[in-house]
């Protein structure tokens, strides 16, 4: 009733090719952005921002990265966490080598390093696909994680092996380090995620996205359209790893604030992000956000929400119950809709369009 495109006529191809062709969608997006930029920092407390929103944004960005590779180009990767780690360590090295450079620039630049590493480990993808490629990227995961522990140069020969996030100011406001307020870190995360999501959306809706999907759906026909498979796949690896790298740098610098980074970038994180992409919806950017919300916000909400609701439970029990519930929900959603939450969202919108007279 309220969600209709009736009366919205497109008279130009540009309007027809818009990412959100329906006016209500554009209004919805504006409302979400307004909530993200104004309502959450104004009303959210420190706990909500640091433990819910920042992790959500970091995971969303990593999930978008993996979705570009797995969802759009059809290449399975189990090395996401390692590529995130490359971003984090690259950012750390750059903060020590170039102390004067704006930290936001460094976080974005660290993505370039993981993009390069991603391309390197993406090279086998021309020859192998499916499970075999997953195993090849698993090698990246183990090798890189090993390097994070065994190459002391990466953590500046620190005896504890931990990354120490230095204090950095942007326009006089501390963005990283102990003095940075949660709000500032949240705004930086949000800005990066919004801009990079916009770029990703542009890429997947244009020529490059079409060639990625062509490679995913039918690689021989793609080659026949003049798409060079190696270039398309390596570009997907580069862009995907760039996003993962930026997400990794954000994770250490804006969320964790330092620590034993090598443990953070373990295979568990890789799997977690792969689950986010699968549950959210392969080949859907909005699905990446859904998946990240499902697997990062929901556990936190349950862990702290169940005892708060008066369910008598110790912290540890709540955590275990959360694990079981999340596991059950994953299975439930995959049975109900194997194409992920994004497809459910799509179906919901379709239903809403014809409601209340579906025939």
């Amino acid at each position: 009733m309220f969600y209709r495109e009736a009366g919205q006529f497109k008279s130009t191809y540009q309007a027809d090719m818009a990412v959100f062709p329906i006016r209500q969608d554009r209004i919805g997006l504006a409302i979400i952005l307004a909530i993200a930029f104004v309502v959450i920092p104004y009303f959210g407390d420190d706990f909500f921002i640091t433990s819910v929103m920042i992790p959500f944004l970091v995971f969303s960005l990593a999930a978008i990265g993996l979705n570009i590779l797995t969802g759009y180009t059809g290449l399975i990767s189990l090395g996401t966490a390692a590529f995130m780690g490359v971003g984090a360590y690259a950012c750390y090295k750059m903060t020590t080598l170039f102390p004067g450079v704006n930290i936001i620039v460094l976080i974005l630049a660290s993505g370039l390093f993981s993009a390069a590493i991603g391309v390197l480990f993406g090279l086998p993808s021309l020859r192998i696909k499916g499970f075999y490629l997953a195993v090849a990227t698993l090698a990246a995961q183990f090798f890189l994680q090993w390097s994070f522990v065994r190459v002391p140069w990466l953590y500046n020969y620190n005896a504890s092996g931990a990354i120490e996030v230095p204090q950095r100011l942007v326009f006089g406001v501390p963005v990283t380090g102990a003095l940075a307020t949660p709000e500032t870190r949240y705004f930086v995360c949000l800005g990066i995620v919004v801009v990079l999501t916009w770029f990703a959306s542009n890429l997947v809706h244009g020529k490059i996205g079409r060639s990625w999907m062509a490679v995913r759906d039918m690689d021989i026909a793609a080659e026949l359209m003049g798409i060079k498979l190696l270039n398309a796949k390596l570009l997907a690896f580069a862009v995907s790893s760039f996003y993962a790298g930026v997400a990794g740098a954000m994770m250490i610098f804006l969320w964790y604030g330092g620590g034993e980074a090598a443990d953070a970038f373990s295979i568990r994180l890789s799997f977690n992000i792969l689950f986010m992409v699968i549950i959210g919806g392969l080949g859907s950017l909005i699905g990446s956000f859904f998946g990240a919300a499902f697997l990062s916000i929901l556990p936190t909400a349950m862990k702290f929400g169940l005892p708060a609701l008066g369910v008598p439970m110790a912290g540890a029990t709540a955590e275990h119950v959360t694990f079981m519930l999340i596991g059950g929900l994953i299975i439930f959603f995959l049975i109900v809709e194997p194409h992920g939450l994004a497809r459910l969202w799509q179906i919901g919108k379709q239903k809403l369009r014809t409601w209340p007279f579906p025939y």
Partner: protein, 268 residues
Amino acid sequence: MNAEPLTMTGAPVREVLLSVENVSLRFGGVKAISDVSFDIRKGEVRAIIGPNGAGKTSMLNCINGFYQPQEGQITFKGQRRDKMRPHRAAAAGIARTFQNVALFKGMSTLDNIMTGRTLKMKRGFFWQALRHGPAMNEEIEHRRVVEDIIDFLQIEHIRKLPVGKLPYGLQKRVELGRALAMEPELLLLDEPMAGMNLEEKEDMCRFILDVNQQFGTTIALIEHDMGVVMDLSDRVVVLEYGRKIADGTPAEVKADQKVIDAYLGVAH
């Protein structure tokens, strides 16, 4: 008076666009094609026929670079090619459809056909990431061409639908559209009418003739429906067990004893 020889459609015989000379292709011990030569002239409809397993599809695969023949050479637009790759064949102006539809199933009809324009779109990564200014103008310009093709093939109604869910006949049509979007000089059609009903076949024949006459596209087609082949094509080459057994106009081929034997069988 020596009149210029005419093709079926009345066009004069033009220069050779593609020539296949003594091509042999082996898979291990199996000889898929042995010593086949023929040419395709500019602007004609050339049919390749033959019983199952005669090497017709292998021949197309050689022409657009999926297979590398061990012997012989293929010359396209006067240029001999060694080590052909499919994407280079595409850049040279060879497009193709497949026997079993090879569409990008997850994408819409529009996106499928837009993919055919990939080679013509020049804007690089950074403009693509912005999707404004030059990249958007380019996108619109190509969208216009694609809309003309959609119009031509009468598939406006399925423009935004994912192709995986379309009926078979329409999928074949979208695949033809995708090949046309490349504006090829040579269009290879591998059984464009397989599995279609009579009405769909008639539509497809119409489209093929229109493409040939309106756009002047040279067409090489593989087809099993003899009626279609004899009506559409200017010249026919017949393969059997990887060898060429006949080559000529439909009438000549139809009268050829070897062709009749190949299709009807001979008493031993």
